[in-house]
Symmetry: C2
DNA sequence: ACTCAATATCGCAATATTACGATACAACTA
DNA sequence: TAGTTGTATCGTAATATTGCGATATTGAGT
């Protein structure tokens, strides 16, 4: 009652859902977009860029790190975050595969 | 306090987050995958395919329909669901654009 | 009109997510 | 060593999501 039934689905499906969660909140989309154009960033950058509290941003960064789509390196007092290229390519492939498995021509006349 | 600050983000970012939610639950991934290989389906198909209750599946179908990624056509007592090709292509482009804006070579040496 | 079948919606309970102030912590600096 | 700075984590409140039984609702068949 209320708990996600991950046991009912395949490893791949649960994995896909997890990856999608990286993009399922505008703050995380904003963080990822910022990383894409800045190459790297610190928590403080994002506090200025987005209007969210430092604690909130730290929480989103942790989620993204848990998903694996970003990684952080300690640089003295700061932590430098950037895209994890291996995981990024993996997730990109996951989405590409799904998107490309739809054949517009053959499906368009269903409803 | 707990409410998503959609006002802080761009239309595009909120839109991206909304689209990602279609894939952010394994049941919805399973529904989409089923639609991709079956072209169309009804609620009852999915009740058999997935192990979830009819009410739960109906709810996921509604969410997918609200996002716009699927559409339903009434066929007598049943409702036939299928991929909404226009929206599908749109979302595919959104994701492709984001994924392609990452240049592995130039970013790989950041951390 | 009555029944059946398929789906949608309501109401509720359990859990997850989002947000932020307060606080702890770790590393640099004077 | 004391103070400063940048982050992480804790605790908590508000809200959203997930799941399902029960109950409409809608159309088909009798």
């Amino acid at each position: 009652m209320g708990v996600s039934r991950t046991d009912l689905f395949s490893e791949a499906q649960n994995n896909m859902a997890l990856a999608a969660k990286a993009f399922a909140h505008p703050a995380r989309v904003a963080i990822i977009e910022y990383l894409l154009k800045a190459s790297a960033c610190i928590n403080g950058d994002l506090v200025n860029e987005l209007g969210l509290a430092q604690a909130t941003i730290s929480q989103h960064l942790r989620e993204l790190k848990e998903i694996g789509i970003i990684k952080g390196t300690i640089e003295g007092t700061r932590v430098s975050y950037c895209i994890n290229s291996e995981k990024w390519e993996l997730i990109k492939t996951q989405f590409s595969t799904l998107f490309n498995s739809y054949n517009k021509l053959s499906e368009d006349n269903c409803c």
